[in-house]
């Protein structure tokens, strides 16, 4: 049995935890949420093992030491990229809603929340370019519109059979799912045109998926 290593990543409040809860129901998958070390290496008897980390506060291409604290706040992505059979799921959510949710749930200013989202988009864009077929874009819009279809796509991406119990994660953890928030009033498109362009490139494949295209 060849073990696959999976990283679920995205900006904070993008549905990464919900996605992990759903995939974690699969009999052949064991997933951690926000584990600081690579404990998933220690999982036995499963085909897919992995972790769920948010960009940029939990993982980034650079290792970042948090000011005034002696531990690292973000682990380097490069360590994950060295794994054999490495795949990643990139959770993409409406930018203005992500920013509004970070401001509301984490008490951040607009600037800090927007910087967080911008960095997440930049990192995911680079990951998609580097990993190509081994990176799958998933969006909350797709998850809400058709969770079964999305789970089937993710299972196929991981080379596994779809299991209906994956949908239980959606039903049971809906209380923890990112709730609807009003989009941030600021215009991200005009404030960060380069990032917005990358964001649209990340969104396009998912728009096609929702409509049933390839």
């Amino acid at each position: 049995m060849t073990k696959q290593h999976l990283l679920i990543t995205g900006a904070p409040r993008s549905g990464t935890t919900l996605l992990a809860n759903m995939l974690g129901r699969h009999s052949e998958i064991v997933l951690f949420v926000a584990a600081k070390r690579m404990f998933f290496n220690r999982v036995v008897s499963k085909t897919v093992v992995g972790n769920t980390l948010c960009v940029p506060d939990e993982i980034d291409f650079r290792e970042r030491r948090q000011q005034g604290i002696s531990f690292y706040s973000a682990r380097p992505l490069e360590r994950y990229l060295k794994f054999q059979n490495f795949r990643t799921l990139l959770a993409v959510q409406d930018g203005s809603r992500v920013v509004a949710a970070i401001m509301r749930d984490e008490g951040e200013t607009f600037d800090a929340a927007a910087q967080c989202w911008c960095r997440a988009v930049a990192v995911m864009h680079e990951l998609k370019q580097r990993l190509q077929q081994n990176a799958l874009l998933v969006s909350m819009a797709h998850l809400r519109a058709n969770p079964e279809d999305l789970m089937r796509r993710v299972a196929a991406f991981l080379g596994l059979e779809y299991q209906a119990k994956m949908l239980e994660g959606w039903q049971e953890d809906s209380a923890d799912a990112p709730t609807d928030v009003a989009p941030a009033a600021h215009d991200l498109k005009s404030l960060y045109p380069e990032i917005w362009k990358k964001y649209l490139e990340l969104c396009v494949p998912d728009e096609r998926q929702i409509k049933g295209g390839n």
């Binding site: 049995m1 935890t17 992990a20 809860n21 759903m22 995939l23 974690g24 129901r25 699969h26 009999s27 998958i29 064991v30 997933l31 951690f32 949420v33 926000a34 584990a35 070390r37 404990f39 220690r42 999982v43 036995v44 008897s45 499963k46 769920t52 239980e168 994660g169 049971e172």
Partner: protein
């Protein structure tokens, strides 16, 4: 089923070279179990979507009742059992193996001297015996030799303990043992390893009481005997007599 309040926390314990990894690989095959092998800290609590999450550790070199602070590296070299015992819905699976097989394997595989190997086994037995007495309902004891001879019966005991349905795929756990990937089945020759109740020479003089605890634990691997012993606190001679009758 997998909501936090109902989640079971599992710890698999045994002396080194007692079949702990094989046992973990078998249990880890279950659809609803997420199991780690020798992970430090309580990492398994961060697993999502599984009804049962847990860890496998060797006793006493990886876990003791109290954490052991290692001055040389400024960190804890052993996990603290008390932290595990404080977890909600905590379940324990203990595995025991004959001292001669354990000691010779530790010497051969880890290159440790005989005295160190015996110390590991003795302390492991003492800790597991205490745990079984503290958690009579929430701990299952498995004899390594018996597990090889009749794996299905013991996997059913484990799934009963965890309130999960038994799954046949657990019997194929040997395929996932990270240390013995070449295995194509159970090594039944080891099931016949020194299974006699004979105590090694001079053992009673040097380590009084430990052999009795081992026999009690092994007897606890049989459901009826476990019930008789732990609830009525029968003497060892009664257990042996009952064992012969059954």
């Amino acid at each position: 089923m997998t909501k936090e309040s109902n989640r079971r926390h599992l710890l698999i314990l045994g002396a080194p070279r007692s079949g702990t990894t094989l046992l973990a690989a078998m249990i880890g095959c279950h659809d609803d179990i997420g199991l780690l092998v020798e992970a430090k800290r309580m990492a398994f609590t961060e697993i999502v979507g599984k009804a049962v999450v847990g860890n496998k550790l060797c006793v006493p070199n990886q876990i003791e009742f109290e954490a052991n602070w290692d001055r040389r590296v400024s960190r804890f070299s052993k996990a603290a059992l008390e932290k595990y015992l404080a977890l909600p819905n905590f379940k324990l699976v203990l595995i025991v193996r004959h001292v001669e097989a354990v000691a010779s394997s530790i010497k051969k595989r880890a290159g440790k001297p005989n005295e160190t190997a015996l110390m590991y086994w003795r302390r492991g037995i003492e800790i597991m015996h205490k745990l079984k007495q503290r958690l009579p309902q929430d701990a299952v004891v498995i004899s390594f030799e018996s597990m090889l001879a009749n794996p299905e019966r013991h996997m059913r005991r484990v799934t009963d303990l965890l309130a999960l349905p038994y799954q046949e795929k657990m019997l194929e756990g040997y395929k996932h043992n990270p240390y013995y990937r070449e295995f194509s089945g159970f090594d039944l020759s080891r099931a016949a390893a020194p299974e006699s109740a004979a105590e090694p020479a001079d053992f009673a003089d040097k380590h009084p009481g430990v052999w009795k605890k081992f026999l009690e634990l092994r007897a606890a691997g049989e459901k009826i005997l476990a019930w008789v012993f732990f609830y009525f606190n029968f003497e060892l001679s009664d257990i042996v007599e009952l064992s012969n009758i059954i």
